[in-house]
Amino acid sequence: MLLDLWTIVLVSMGVVFFLAGTVGLLRFPDALSRLHALTKADNLGLGLVVIGLLPRLTGIADGAKMIFVWLLVMLSGACLAQLVAHLIRQSGDFKP
């Protein structure tokens, strides 16, 4: 029962962070702040969903794999964000 509560709370928070990421992506005025909103929110959203789902899994290995998916998304997200930011600076679409 407590574990169900854990899942409900964390997955719901994850949904909220995905919502925050989308709102930021749509509403922020310039590309760099949109990037900032996106990279923070979606990684956190996925992370909360992963942590929330952990008690639903049967094996330790599955849990480890799931956390690994999150780490992988964070790593590639961070690197992509750098490259995208570089691209935005080259195209001149930012206000310091």
Binding site: I8, G21, L25, V49, L53, L72, S76, V84, Q90, S91
Partner: protein, 90 residues
């Protein structure tokens, strides 16, 4: 519990779909890239939730592949649209 998980999966999918407006509007290629990235992360989350619902641990492996290959496609995309990434053909 199943209802709750499926509901949150739906919610994430809808939220991410709204974010795809950036894919339509742009204005820059970077914005389109970001919308695709949001969709990649969102569909990974939905996939993991759905995998927990149908109790099929192999879905985590699919998520692993999606995470890896979307990083690859994203890198290729950034390289493809940047004007001077040293692609050799300029």
């Amino acid at each position: 519990m199943t209802e709750f998980l499926l509901g949150s999966a739906c919610a994430i999918l809808v939220v991410v779909a709204v974010g795809l407006v950036r894919l339509l509007r742009g204005p820059g290629e970077a914005d389109r890239m970001m919308a695709v990235q949001l969709l990649g992360t969102g569909s990974t989350a939905v996939m993991l939730i759905f995998g927990a619902v149908i109790r099929q641990p192999a879905v985590i492996d699919v998520a692993l592949i999606v995470a890896l290959l979307s990083a690859f496609a994203g890198l290729a995309f950034v390289r493809g649209i940047s004007p001077n990434s040293g692609g050799g053909d300029e």
